[in-house]
Subunit: 428 residues, 2 copies
């Protein structure tokens, strides 16, 4: 194999980063790949726009079929984003026997299984390392290094925007609104931050991770999702008083043939390595039967990290091409698991409430928890000056989720309780 020709779909920030890496490190990359790497065509919206990297203008095209149907091109890198169009383009590329690399998590979370099957059928590679935590080589680690192990559970801080917001609320004492505005100013949050702050982005990444880790098809609909818009500065403060940090985490767990995937604001004990993951950084904490607990930490996104993930995928594809084994490495789901029912989920919970600051009110709470067979771990109470109300924070011991939720509904009806909310707590 003397030369490989690449077609690039999309020339935005990440596309620019990929072209920059391919140009700057060409010699080193070609030495590793053992062949010439030729950028044949780049799909753009506007051929006349100024570009941040030097590129021969004749390589630019606005016609995607000049790339997808070009017999010279062996590898397609898809960076246009979105779902429907990207899906059609990648499907056509695969049918045309082209290897595909994509950073498109929305697409892989929705159509990953179908596209992987298509790639396999055409003996083509489909790599997507950059779709989850662009700055952390997590997908390759799950398939290669943990290949001899059994993964049982993953906890991921996989959305940089929400981790940045919660870090600022926690460390700098900002309100949610101010922290979000700061994230938007720095480019860590979109003008419309819905998909991040409501947890959808994290859920998509957990689908992709779960798919790979357990060799099972996981659907976005199976993920229970709760975002961070209800997390207040006070929730964070009282969690801290009990020794916890609130993070938006994705949790994915298999057990006895069931799978449980959820994204929600969760209290992590301060000593937990994930609790130290600050700002826009990401980390994935993996529990596996032989290796035990491992964590993979890095930048969540950004031009550099995402581009290097794409180029790492490209090197893997080139190696497979040279060996004539493209498509062989593709993981195919092997079994189906059922979504775990909530009555089989056990957890600790953090309850924060305002109660009337009058004699006996605290014992009404503890009576309720005792009646419901929920035992309490940590407790914190402080009067709110001048309001005849006390702030109460409780962390329960491990209890059944359905039992807890039922008890919480009763708790809210108690005459001494002014208001109450709860979050899940992850054990250390």
């Amino acid at each position: 194999m003397e030369k490989v020709s690449i077609g690039l779909l999309g020339f935005g920030t990440v596309g620019t980063g990929v072209v920059r890496l391919l140009t700057k490190d060409r010699e080193r990359l070609e030495e590793r790949a053992g062949c010439k790497i030729h950028l044949e065509k780049v799909l753009v919206r506007n051929k006349n726009r100024a570009r941040k990297v030097l590129i021969d203008n004749r390589k630019l095209t606005t016609d995607v079929y000049e790339i997808l149907d070009n017999p010279e091109i062996n590898v397609i890198i898809e960076l246009i984003g979105g779902v429907d169009q990207a899906y059609r383009y990648i499907l056509r590329a695969l049918k045309n026997k082209k290897n595909v690399i994509t950073a498109n998590k929305d697409l892989m979370a929705s159509y990953g299984e179908e596209l992987l099957l298509e790639a396999r059928a055409n003996q083509c590679d489909l790599y997507y390392e950059a779709s989850v935590a662009g700055g952390i080589p997590i997908l390759r680690t799950l398939t290669d290094s943990l290949g001899a192990d059994r993964i049982q559970k993953m906890i991921g801080i996989v959305n940089g925007t929400t981790n940045y917001i919660l870090s600022k609320m926690s460390g700098d004492g900002l309100s949610y609104e101010k922290a979000l505005a700061s994230a938007q100013r720095l480019g860590f949050a979109e003008a419309d931050p819905t998909s991040d702050v409501e947890g959808l982005d994290a859920a998509r990444k957990m689908v992709i991770l779960s798919h790979l880790a357990y060799s099972i098809p996981v659907k976005l609909d199976d993920v229970k999702i709760k975002g961070i818009t209800d997390v207040t500065r006070e929730d964070i403060v009282f969690a801290q008083k009990l020794g916890y940090t609130i993070k938006l985490v994705g949790i994915s767990e298999v057990n006895n043939g069931d799978i449980d995937v959820r994204v929600e604001p969760t209290l992590l004990p301060d000593g937990h390595p994930l609790a130290a993951v600050e700002n826009e950084n990401n980390a994935i904490y993996v529990y596996s039967s032989a290796l035990g607990e491992t964590m993979y930490y890095g930048a969540g996104a950004g031009e550099g990290p995402t581009a290097v993930s794409i180029v790492s995928d490209l090197l893997a594809v080139l190696q497979n091409m040279a060996l004539g084994v493209t498509g062989n490495h593709i993981f195919l789901p092997k079994k189906e698991l059922h979504a775990r029912k909530d009555n089989l989920v056990d957890s600790q919970f953090f309850v924060r409430m305002h109660i009337k600051d009058e004699p006996g009110s605290f014992s009404k709470l503890t009576d309720l928890f005792r009646e419901q067979n929920i035992s309490l771990g940590k407790l914190y109470q402080e009067p709110i000056p001048g309001r005849d109300i006390a702030e109460v924070a409780i962390v329960t011991h491990v209890t059944n989720k359905v039992l807890f939720e039922k008890s919480f509904e009763i708790l809210k009806q108690l005459d001494v309780v002014v208001n109450a909310k709860y979050f899940r707590v992850e054990r250390g």
Copy 2:
């Protein structure tokens, strides 16, 4: 390729773990490997000893050549440890065209380059993931995932024993002696802990990591090594007062054609992800030009983690055998770098001293630092009750190492200074 036959050298804790994994997960591993995995022979010292796993006694042998010269055997797993004998066995196995997997860091730190060249010459694989941080797939990450990137610097907590000791001194307030005794009781430290506490074990791992990360030959003699035997409980307490945690870290850095590899007790700012790595755990923090900062965290050793690293290596070897590409993936050093001279090393430093508690004594210190052009960052002073002596802790700004050491010698001679010591400080 229908069947692969394995010869195992050594049947201690890790060997038992490997046999257990190969037995328990045989079906799943063979499905991944696409061939039968057959354990042919195991080298033991005593054939009649009771074993913790079920094994056919006829597979045990005390004659290593029944394995090394056995034409049936394709893959040798070396777990006998030590350097000279293991070196001879592996060399012979390679010359006999057998692929080799080893967990032997002493061997790889001393003879890694030579053995890799021999493997390459014989078109055999030589994998050694388990030799560094058995519970973290770091070697594969450096070669595969970071293959498209340029690694500039690594900071590693790569010795579980010393990290456990420092964690207990820091968290539980134990003295060095008591923490060491606790580590020995729990099996985290050897009866003779010299190689761990003096930093030699960590240095060997940094040699292996540097070798791979920068594609250059690094010798153990090039590593500046300082252990933790001089770290006291008080050093830890006063570092904490200034917001730092003391860890034994290995630092390896390339810059302008120079390389600097050192192992020494180092202050890490409390917010640094490495500062949260507790007890016997390991972590490697990597700086690379495109990905930025990433960290890989997990158990440092233990039967399970080390055995799974060995079996992951085995799966990689089996894949290479099936593709007929054994030996191709072997990294060969490409260039030589010079050890950086200390006059080119810049760092922050933490100085802890006792000074006479009398008027003007503190200003004599600050005068000295000003004369020497070393500017001070954080300062802490407190009188020691009833002793006319004050405890002083200082963190300097970044300064030249040679200049700092010269100034430190002058400082020790000041009449107001009773005693003084210093450690390096890593920036956050």
